[in-house]
């Protein structure tokens, strides 16, 4: 098993406004296949950090390496391909509301240039995985919040990403819908995908007590004394949804 961390952050700082650092000196190493909770109060910089990981924002200082590559040195042409390897789920879902469930989930696959046949079968298995195969052609605006978040999750994993980033994935959901999303995240993790969940909701931890917990405060990451977590879950064959 490789011992080189998959995500490496060195002295990362980020400020949107000069003099106000959201991240100050963030250092973090995430190994392949880890499940990590990023905890912190509102405004602590969790979303900011995930945006840095996705390359939507650039750090003011420091470096972020993913799979050995400095993601802020990627060329304009390499960025889209990189983003297909990093799935993202947002608190507010960010779906195309007028479009069908199918279209939303297919979007990353169309953008990746997949064939129509491939897209159809892939979307079908993805929707089965999140339990929405009965609503394939329903416009997203007619789904419940929990269903919308499941569509967003299916979209995020459509291109079989290395990493799944979830920013308050249950922030707008009730306990029951949250539990469903957490089970799905665990299933994605079980298949070998690295998962990072940013949340201020400590009750989510109960769903996965063995997961690694990192707190963010004052722009710095703190490791919580961890339960002896299995960092490298054994590979479980192919993707769960296939």
């Amino acid at each position: 098993m490789t011992s080189v961390p998959f995500i490496q952050c060195f002295h990362v700082a980020k400020s949107y406004v000069a003099g106000e650092e959201v991240l100050r000196d963030a250092n973090l190493q995430v190994f392949k296949g880890e499940f990590l909770f990023l905890m912190g109060p509102s405004g602590a910089g969790k979303s900011t950090f995930l945006k840095l990981l996705l390359g939507l924002e650039a750090p003011t200082r420091g470096h972020i390496l993913v799979d050995g590559r400095n993601i802020h040195r990627l060329s304009r042409k390499e960025i889209p391909a990189y983003r297909r390897k990093v799935g993202m789920v947002f608190q507010d879902f960010r779906l195309l509301n007028q479009d069908s469930v199918f279209h939303n989930v297919a979007l990353p696959l169309v953008a990746a240039g997949r064939s129509r046949r491939w897209i159809r079968s892939k979307v079908k298995s993805l929707l089965q995985f999140v339990g929405l195969d009965g609503k394939t052609h329903v416009p997203c605006c007619r789904l419940s919040g929990g269903e919308q978040q499941r569509v967003a999750l299916a979209r995020a994993v459509a291109n079989d990403p290395w990493v799944l980033l979830a920013d308050e994935p249950t922030g707008n959901l009730d306990a029951c819908a949250s539990a469903v999303i957490m089970e799905l995240l665990k299933a994605v993790h079980a298949r070998g995908t690295t998962v990072v969940v940013a949340t201020h909701d400590a009750s989510l931890l109960e769903h996965l007590p063995e997961a690694r917990r990192v707190h963010i405060q004052g722009g710095i990451f703190y490791e919580e004394a961890e339960a002896a977590a299995p960092r490298f879950p054994s590979a479980m064959g192919g993707p769960v949804w296939e």
Partner: protein, 296 residues
Amino acid sequence: MGMSHWRYYMARALGGFRKNPLPAAVSVLVVGLCLFMTGLCSLGFWGIYRIAPHLLVPSKAVIYLKEGVSVQEARGVQKTVAGWPLVAACHYKSPQEVLEELRDRYGGWEDLFQGLGENPLPPALEVRLQVREDMEGAMRAFEDKAKALEPVQDVLTARSWSGETLRRMRTVLGMGLALLVVWIACSILIVANTVRLAFYGRRDEVEVLRVVGASPSFIKMPFYLEGILQGVLGAALAASLLWLTGRMVGAVLPPSLAAGIWPLGAGAWLWGILPLAGAGLSWLGARLALRRLASY
């Protein structure tokens, strides 16, 4: 890979059209009017060129020879004229060729040429003068010199029209051209503005596309298509207007004459080149709008 891409682009472009019908309609209208004007102007040029080529090309002149001049004599004059320093080229035209050219030039006036029996026209020499600073002086010198030749009946140059008429026509043509340039610029800017509006109207969607790893060209293509669609629709509008104008001209003038000055039955020109021009214009507009957008 291509197929699903293009279906997606097309669906998005059409969706954009439905979402913002008013700006799209305005740009279709402007592009349409622009192309309509272009069409009218080109028809004007075409008509003038058919009737009097030396109006547009001042270096062109014609020498008509006297009746009964033999071919040999005519060839002799041709050689002489071709040798003058003012002259760039000189071609001999038989009476038959002159008649055919007249028929062609004044298409629709066939009646005029009927019942003539034998061709009454003299042979002619078609001359191209060298272009120089003092074209007016050159033409006068050429006329005097040519008229002095024995077999020459008449000489026609741009000077044969009064200088005033000529100047006025050139002014009108120039203004038409200037207006055209303004119209074209307006069309491009309007399309650019419409595309920019559409882009800002769908910021959220663009943001989603960035997040799921769509390339900049993938993001921009539906907007390009939307712009080009406006251009093509504008061209269809212009073609219909031109066609209608042609029908009206046809209703007023005798049909044979109308066909002569209005060649637009339903030619490739109207339904082929015009849409291409519309697509080109709107592509430029879309490019202008999207150049700096969708940054990464």
